[in-house]
Amino acid sequence: MRLKCDIVIIGSGAAGGVLASTLAEKTDKKILLIEKGGYYEGATIVQEELGARHLFADRGTRGAKDGSIAVRGGECVGGGTTVNVALCFDPIESVWKRWKSEYGIDQYSFDPASNDYGISGLNMPNALKHVRERINIHEPPDDMVNDNNRLFAEGCQSEGVSHKKFELNMKNCIGCGFCAVGCKYDRKMGTMITYIQDAIQNGVEVVHNCHIEKIQFSGQNGSKKTTGIQGEIVEAHDKSLPNKYPAGPISISAGLIIVAAGAVEAPSLLFRSNHPNPNDTLGRGLILHPSLPIIGVQDKKLVNYRGITGSMYSDHFYESHGFYYECLFGHPIYAAGMVPGFGTPHFDMILKYPQINGFGVMLVDTPVKKNRVVWDTYSQKPEIIYRLTVPDKDRLRIAAQKGVEMMFGSGAKEVMLPSEEPVGPLMRPHFNHRSQAVHCKDLQFRPHQTQITSAHCQATVSMGEDHETGILNSRCESKYVKNLMVCDSSSFPDSCGANPMVSIMTMARYQGERISGELARYDL
């Protein structure tokens, strides 16, 4: 199968969906939107953990190479926006300003009167405004705050820790509690039901179940230019919408190629394509936002797994220590995985499930070169190589201790961490009294002993004008291959400082508008 278009976008998540919609709205170019996973409409969602595995990369088993950190990532039309819990944080101006000073990132003005690149109205506040309106970002009403979130707020109050309501991208949520396996009722405003629908109406063609193997270049070093991509369409999962094109090899020629496949797949595709990597920086500097759950047991039954999963958080320690507390809860398989031990003691704890409350620490991790994504030619899979740094472990211990104290402050009678590590005199971090929280200082966060999770991969094909790690310039263009862009969470120079969805979407809206105003730059 051979196709031809002006612009091809690889990846249909937070970035790809917005780029497709914006470019279709503002240009008359022929655009293809490619997605590796299937196209699963809300009605196909089954509200079961194992029944949702087809929505995720590696069927939900993706993790660090040594298996130590589970790294969730959506692999379906809408990408992460289909399977996240709808938590929205505006781009943090201080982070983008730091990127300007540390990495030389240009433009991305936060002044709403700015015309970046000389394009009328191009600036971050305008891009953000569009995103906020289109995906309906708002605070949930008080009556949608369930017991789990209410107790989190009480725990914060008892410890003098400030807390806030999340903003969420939902519309008329009915509180089923299954955000993380996809919304059956189309109430979560991910890109699949917002920007991608707009894009389709404006003529964008979505090709799903399509794995892109390589980007093709012409020319030599110094004058390389993209010519197209090649890959393969696979048979669609039985729950997916059918593809327009049959299974088999596919080759697409395009004037501009935009990779928006996320911080694991984007560098992998560039590695497979032999993209120049003169400073050995491709894939390096991986940010994961490692998360550590904190589990409490109350003495009464709660509404915990129904309602909005996360409606409360705390950024109290963001400026001082670089971590958040975010209220979250899990269904049975997740819960069984997080509760330490096995056999009768484990099951006895599971029997208390209706009394359990939970929230997580989300650490804004420090970028280091050795944390990276590489492409393994043997297994033909990306490998995630990641270890917490020593300073990050220190911050995580502080976060764990304070979190345990907050959990007791919420009224919990027992508090535990998902860990088999002995701490102080305790066989595991399972506490019966607030004073025992101090033993969190003994945590080593050993892989496979303490459960750390991640869903926010970033910074593996990063921008940087005057910084040696930058593969991309500030326009998200490859510095080495003309007409190739990487625009998604991998383009961030390091952590965007919070849950990244809205930062990614804002950057994508901004870049979509910029490309539309600079088509001649790409010979379009």
């Binding site: 819960a335 056999g343 099951f347 892989p447 496979h448």
Partner: protein
């Protein structure tokens, strides 16, 4: 070492590495058993009974509140969701057989040591001497855990044949090991077994989880 197609497969290559690495370590009998483990493809008749014993350990079927599901149900679900018969699961199949051989826990098995060294190189970019120091410390730690286990339970050879409290302490040894690969087995085995039990509606009923949402709940 050559496959039918004449190419050196990665699998055979790893087997060869394991065998070569064994040349000067470990007492004869464990060495023989370990070579056997590396060079023979595990058969379901060998690893399934070990998996079944682990299912019986991880899930308390004799608990008065445990629902009416059986180890067969869990095994069946494993076959559906995480089929061990797939070639990519071969290391997991071998790990079950290694796990069953209790006395191998105290041996300095080159394959495990090499794997740990590789992780230090790849993940932490440590130098050879530092890696050796760390691994020596790991060996010492695991040997002392095993000594305490053996002092309590006596000389045991097979996980499957051990009494339940010994099985439990032995499985815990794997969670407390300094070697990543052992902790990984503990975590993976526990995770897969739990996932394939807690996907059952009977478990949901027992734990007070209502499962699928019925929009009528909100009326």
């Amino acid at each position: 070492m050559l496959s039918d197609s004449g190419h050196i497969s990665r699998r055979n290559f790893l087997k060869a590495i394991g065998i070569l690495g064994l040349s000067s370590c470990a007492p004869f009998y464990p060495k023989t058993r370990f070579i056997h483990l590396l060079t023979n493809d595990p058969h379901p008749d060998h690893y399934n009974p070990i998996l079944r014993s682990l299912i019986n350990l991880v899930l308390p079927f004799d608990h008065p509140n445990f629902p009416a599901i059986t180890p067969e149900t869990v095994l069946k679900n494993i076959g559906i969701h995480f089929p061990l018969t797939e070639e990519r699961q071969e290391p997991f199949q071998r790990a079950f057989i290694l796990f069953n051989d209790i006395q191998l826990y105290k041996e300095q098995l080159p394959a495990i040591i090499d794997e740990e060294a590789k992780l230090f190189r790849e993940f932490e970019e440590l130098e050879k001497l530092e890696i050796q120091d760390r691994i020596n410390e790991f060996i010492k730690h695991d040997q002392s855990l095993f000594d305490a286990f053996e002092k309590k339970h006596g000389y045991l050879t097979s996980f499957m044949d051990a009494l339940k409290n010994a099985q439990s302490d032995y499985f815990n040894l794997w969670s407390q090991s300094r070697f990543n690969i052992r902790r990984m087995f503990f975590n993976s085995a526990k995770g897969v077994i739990n996932a394939c039990a807690y996907c059952q509606e009977e478990m949901w009923d027992a734990m007070g989880y209502a499962g699928h949402f019925d929009p009528k709940e909100n009326r």
